[in-house]
């Protein structure tokens, strides 16, 4: 069977299901890979994002999470607390007053954690880049960012593309299991 779990079926746990899976042959529920592959695969398939939005990008984020675009199918569901979240989607303008709170939320997330900067404001400050005393000119001044999504605001398709790109990044991580990265 395919050893690419990205497109293969998940391994069935032993004893799960009505009929036991055959040990050999095309129906065998066996996956072959190294630990990195399995750990990365499970991480990228359950990107729980923090329910957190600061501006109009949050509306697109809600759209992406709702039934029409359905982020659930990529394993990305929202969590209402940073302590259960793997991914922070910075959806919107970050002011200096908000910056301390963003940093605090990020610090509360458990490792491994990822950040997607969604929209122009989170990328660079956007329309507030020039002559604004109160807007942070890019959330990467506060926290490390994995994926930047341009747009003002980005459509849900762009957000989904950003999450798929983050999943690709996660699948390329090496030595994620045990040894130091």
């Amino acid at each position: 069977m395919s050893n690419d779990p990205a497109h293969g079926r998940p391994p069935a746990p032993p004893g799960h299901g009505a009929a036991p899976a055959p040990a050999v042959g095309p129906e065998a529920h066996v996956l072959v890979g190294n630990a990195d592959l399995f750990v990365n695969w499970s991480r990228k398939s359950s990107l729980w994002y923090l329910l957190f939005a600061t501006a109009c990008c949050g509306i697109e984020l809600m759209q992406a999470g709702a039934s029409r675009y359905d982020l659930d199918r990529f394993g990305a569901v929202f969590r209402a607390t940073p302590r259960q979240s793997d991914l922070m989607l910075v959806a919107g303008t970050i002011t200096h007053k908000m910056a301390d709170r963003v940093k605090r939320l990020y610090d509360q997330m458990p490792e491994p954690k990822y950040v997607i900067a969604m929209g122009s404001c989170a990328n660079t400050g956007g329309p507030f880049y020039k002559d604004s005393y109160c807007v942070v000119k890019g959330v990467d001044l506060l926290i490390p960012v994995d994926v930047y999504i341009p747009g003002c605001p980005p459509r849900p398709e762009a957000l989904i593309d950003g999450i798929l790109r983050l999943q690709k990044i996660i699948m390329k991580k090496k030595n994620v299991y045990g040894a130091k990265a």
Partner: protein, 148 residues
């Protein structure tokens, strides 16, 4: 009518090019005039639509937009203040909605409303320096280690 009641405290009436017309009053009289405008049955300005700060470079101003739901008429009230130490009596006991507007004017223009129930910064962080909508405001280089 206001002129008859408050005398010299009413400085001028700005009606040309202003809609509604603005009554300019001395800063110290703002609270008394506001109370009269709100309570007089013929006027009964029961709604404070906005309270804004203005910076004219050589002086500051506070503009009040009043509206009467009973009579469906509107008027403006304005007071000019010196740029240094601008102070004005609060109207938050006349119209409770004034409090947020006064806090905003204090936050962004540094106008102090004496006697206010709660005069704190409303938009900017508590430890922000300066009042950004002043014309002579200088941007800080950094805030909490982040470049502004």
């Amino acid at each position: 009518m206001l002129k008859a009641r408050f005398g010299d405290a009413v400085v001028e009436l700005q009606s040309e090019g202003f809609s509604p017309a603005f009554v300019v009053v001395a800063p110290a009289a703002v609270r008394d005039v506001a109370r009269f405008l709100a309570d007089d049955p013929a006027l009964s300005f029961d709604s404070l639509m906005s309270l804004s700060g203005v910076d004219y470079k050589d002086r500051l101003a506070v503009a009040y937009h009043l509206h009467s739901l009973a009579h469906r008429h509107a008027v403006g009230l304005k007071a000019f203040l010196p740029t240094e130490s601008p102070e004005l009596p609060t109207v938050d006991d006349v119209w409770p909605a004034a409090n947020f507007h006064e806090r905003e004017a204090f936050d962004l223009f540094g106008i102090v409303f004496t006697g206010s129930k709660d005069l704190r910064r409303i938009l900017l962080p508590e430890d922000w320096e300066g009042h950004p909508l002043r014309k002579d405001y200088k941007y800080p280089d950094f805030y909490h280690g982040i470049k502004v």
